[in-house]
């Protein structure tokens, strides 16, 4: 093999090879970490919301001028829900306390045993006097939906009512009772002797929280069968439409609500698609930034390798001519340059793996990012070896085509 002569040639002129190896190392370290973060964010943003079809659901936040008594408010909620249901193309409508991924909503702590000092979990609370399973299009995994007699009206301002039965998301059920059915089991709202108990009547496959947290908390939700009123003039409704009808229904529903109210109404409609987009906007922006940097990184490293290899070929024209004149075949010259490049790239790759791990360690300790799976570094190493060979091939081929006569003429 020619490794020894190549190595000693490299060692005689170290600067260039070191620069190339350094470029490969830096690129590999940044690329592996960047792509890992991109994939992680993609996975977070791709989490299911639990809705059968997000494109057909939207929310309407209403606010009215003028003041109303709690009883008038309750009557308005019931009337407005009916108005929404009467709009053509509406499959289901419900008054609801919060929307998935809307980044505005409330949590409650739940416990298996009121004597616990720490609650078992914090769950996102969806309060609705109608069937959210129907309105959101949730998949019931176990148990049943609320019965009509379980859906009660509660004056938020004067009474504190806790529901005897609730529906929870499967991740919450799994957290509270791993491996067992949650149906019929009892959990408590909060801890302490006064914590009110409730029974699980149903489990839905999935329902993402209002804040869609990145941690497991983002999947822990509880449905409470209450129509809350008295808290203010504003209300929120969730509406599910027939496929492809959303935009038309939004317009008609807004008009219908305005017509039904004696006082001017402020309505803000937000589709679940929009809520999802807004929730993950930062993550998507970060992904694009990292992808852009990664692409530029690869481009610049490629240019660097090609540039340096071309320079070496130019510098060694005479030597190549001499070698060719002494009987070296084109293949030998080609092999020499490619081997040389593989050796430099390898040094860079090993450095890059170490550097990548160090960078990841820094990100983990300072910015609480996730640990880098070795797969990224292995794939990155493979990629850079390939790039090294491909980038060196052009200059090496030019070197191989140097004819011995012209190359040695000036000697």
């Amino acid at each position: 093999m020619e490794i020894r002569p190549i190595l000693s040639a490299l060692l005689r002129n170290k600067t260039g090879p070191i620069l190339v190896a350094l470029q490969v190392a830096l690129s590999l370290a940044i690329l592996a970490n960047a792509l890992h973060i991109v994939n992680e964010r993609r996975a977070v943003a791709a989490r299911p919301s639990g809705m059968a079809d997000e494109h057909v659901v939207f929310s309407m936040e209403t606010d009215k001028l003028g003041n109303a008594t709690p009883e008038q408010q309750l009557a308005a909620i019931k009337r407005e829900t009916e108005v929404l249901r009467a709009v053509s193309g509406v499959v289901a409508a419900a008054q609801v306390s919060q929307m998935p991924m809307s980044r505005s909503g409330s949590n409650t702590s739940v416990a298996l045993d009121p004597r616990q000092t720490q609650p078992s979990a914090a769950a996102s609370v969806y309060v609705s006097g109608d069937s959210l399973i129907k309105t959101y299009g949730l998949r019931l995994a176990e148990g049943r939906d609320f019965r009509p007699e379980e859906l009660v009206d509660v004056n938020d301002q004067s009474e504190n009512v806790f529901p005897p039965g609730v529906i929870i998301s499967r991740p919450l059920a799994e957290k509270l009772w791993p491996g067992a059915s949650a149906i019929g089991k009892t959990m408590y709202f909060g801890t302490g002797s006064t914590a009110p108990p409730t029974r699980i009547v149903g489990v839905v496959e999935n329902l993402i929280s209002a804040h869609a947290e990145v941690s497991e908390r983002g999947m822990l939700s509880v449905l409470i069968p209450q129509r809350l009123y008295g808290g203010g003039r504003g209300n929120m409704y969730a509406v599910r439409t027939e496929p492809g009808q959303r935009e038309r229904v939004i317009k008609e529903a807004e008009a219908a609500l305005r017509k039904s109210s004696s006082t001017p109404m402020i309505i803000e409609s937000t589709s679940v698609d929009q809520a999802r987009k807004d929730r993950y906007r930062g993550d998507v922006a970060l992904q694009w930034m990292l992808i852009t940097v990664s692409a530029l990184l690869l481009l610049i490293t490629c240019c660097g390798i090609v540039g340096m290899a071309s320079l070496w070929v130019t510098q060694r024209r005479k030597q190549i001519g001499v070698r060719r004149a002494l009987g070296a075949r084109r293949l030998d010259i080609l092999r020499y340059f490619i081997l040389e490049n593989i050796m430099i790239t390898s040094a860079g790759v090993f450095g890059g793996v170490a550097l990548g791990l160090a960078l990841n360690q820094l990100l983990v300790s300072k910015l609480e990012m996730a640990r880098l799976p070795p797969g990224y570094l292995i794939a990155g190493a493979g990629l850079f070896w390939l790039i090294g060979v491909v980038a060196a091939y052009g200059p090496a081929w030019r070197a191989a085509s140097i004819s011995p006569a012209t190359a040695t003429r000036s000697v």
Binding site: T15, G16, L19, V20, L22, Q23, L26, S27, A29, I30, N33, A34, I37, D63, K64, L65, N67, T117, P119, N155, D156, Q157, S158, E159, N160, G190, T191, G192, T194, P196, G231, G232, G234, P264, M265, I266, E268, R281, G282, A285, L286, M289, L290, V293, L296, L297, I300, T301, C303, G304, G307, M308, L311, Q315, L359, L362, L363, K366, L367, M369
Partner: protein
């Protein structure tokens, strides 16, 4: 000599145009990436009120239950209960003090042709305007008497005043807000703190600014719901009175002291207050009472996202790669000029002169790369600003960052040029001349 070397440097840009273009582009891209991410971080984390940030203090009192509490753990609550907020307001500590929470209100526009809408605002006390240097265009803040009786007065932002009343001075007019008639007391001039330090719980810290202000006492009297986070431990009775009496936290309080040195005094007052409350049995935990100045508060609440820091780190890693790349390209560019250096050295130029000449040449490349990089950075920031409103407010470059861009690009180019320049100086004239 410098002027001459500079001219030579500009001229040599045209020599090996391909290599030079590659170098300039590499530098520009590296500078653009690091400058645009750094600009965002800078805008996000810069002190929004530098003239008094060391004299404004937020108190934090831990009013959580003892169940499940391990002494020393960092509470995740950054707000105060209504009781504590009221007591701090009555304390008379500092030269100014305020307590506030975010509110939203439906507006019935006085002008025809505008649909009713909801706007976001703030419910502080009178002192807020003086504490945060809020400029007034018309009128003035409401009076202390208004604070005391919970008067229905409102201060509008300039943008909101223009939207509702056009160019007219609306002071003294009536505005239907949240279903009640409010009197306009004043209009603030364009004013926005970035980040919105005075209220970091709930809402974007980089929003477009408050649309209106009403007295805290008035918001409480009208039972105005908070527009932001609220944290309650245990189950709270229904109703507004129960919320006010509860340990739910949903307000932020601020003190302004005469000098930064009065912090100790304020802290000891706070400790005494908390001890009294503990004796009364209200505060259960024996957690330390914290006091933060503006910068400390921004750090404690982690208002600057980790993602922004991550981007800056990776962008600077990328700049480093660009530098290494430029070093290689410069080496190549200078290596073909060995004979030229040989001639100059033989004619009497010292190594120092050669060093100067080539360093000036790399500086020229740095300048060109810097200008181009600045253009790229503006483009990148415009792209980032398009992604959302709150990004648009932070994706803008100021003079400080503009200067920094040039420092970064020129020092990057000089750094990259050091090794090639040093190598150029090592050329021995004899060998070069002999081979010609």
């Amino acid at each position: 000599m410098f002027g001459y070397y500079f001219k030579l440097g500009v001229r040599s840009l045209r020599r090996n145009p391909f290599l030079t273009a590659l170098m300039v582009l590499t530098l520009a891209v590296g500078v653009a990436a690091s400058v645009s991410t750094l600009t965002i971080l800078h805008m996000m984390s810069s002190d929004p009120i530098p003239q008094k940030s060391s004299r404004l203090f937020v108190p934090l009192i831990d009013n959580g239950p003892t169940e499940g509490y391990t002494p020393g753990e960092k509470p995740d609550d950054i707000q105060l209960s209504y009781q504590d907020a009221q007591n701090l307001l009555k304390s008379g500590q500092g030269v100014h003090r305020t307590a506030l929470y975010g509110v939203a209100g439906a507006v019935e526009p006085p002008k025809q042709g505008i649909q009713p809408f909801t706007m976001n605002g703030l419910a502080p006390t009178r002192d807020f305007f003086a504490m945060f240097d809020v400029p007034f265009l018309h009128g003035q803040p409401w009076t202390e008497a208004d604070d005391a009786r919970g008067a229905d007065v409102v201060v509008l932002s300039r943008a909101m005043s223009e939207k509702l009343y056009g160019d007219a001075d609306p002071v003294g007019r009536r505005l239907m807000l949240m279903g009640f008639p409010f009197t306009v007391a004043g209009v603030t001039d364009t004013w926005r703190l970035l980040p919105r330090v005075y209220l970091l719980a709930g809402g974007s810290a980089y929003g477009t600014g408050e649309k209106f202000f009403i007295p805290l006492s008035s918001a409480i009297r009208h039972e105005t719901q908070h527009n932001g986070g609220m944290s309650c431990t245990g189950n709270v009775d229904a109703g507004w009175a129960a919320r006010l009496a509860s340990e739910c936290t949903w307000l932020t309080a601020w003190f302004e002291t005469a000098s930064a040195g009065d912090r100790g005094e304020l802290q000891s007052w706070l400790d005494n207050y908390a001890n009294d409350q503990r004796k009364l049995g209200r505060l259960k935990r024996s957690a330390p009472n914290r006091l933060f100045d503006v910068n400390g508060w921004m750090e404690y609440t982690g208002v600057v996202g980790k993602d922004s820091r991550l981007q800056v780190w990776l962008a600077f890693g990328f700049l480093m790669l660009c530098l290494v790349n430029t070093v290689g390209l410069l080496l190549a560019k200078f290596s073909v000029r060995a004979s030229e250096i040989g001639v100059r050295r033989a004619l009497g130029a010292s190594r120092r002169e050669i060093f100067r000449q080539f360093l000036v040449e790399t500086t020229v490349i740095g300048l060109v790369g810097g200008v181009l990089g600045l253009g790229f950075a503006f483009g990148a920031l415009a792209l980032i600003g398009m992604s959302s409103k709150s990004m648009a407010t932070v994706a803008t470059m100021d003079w400080e960052m503009l200067g920094l861009t040039f420092v970064i690009s020129v020092s990057a180019a000089i750094l990259a040029g050091l090794l090639p320049t040093w190598r150029a100086c090592q050329v021995t004239p004899a060998i070069q001349l002999k081979s010609q």
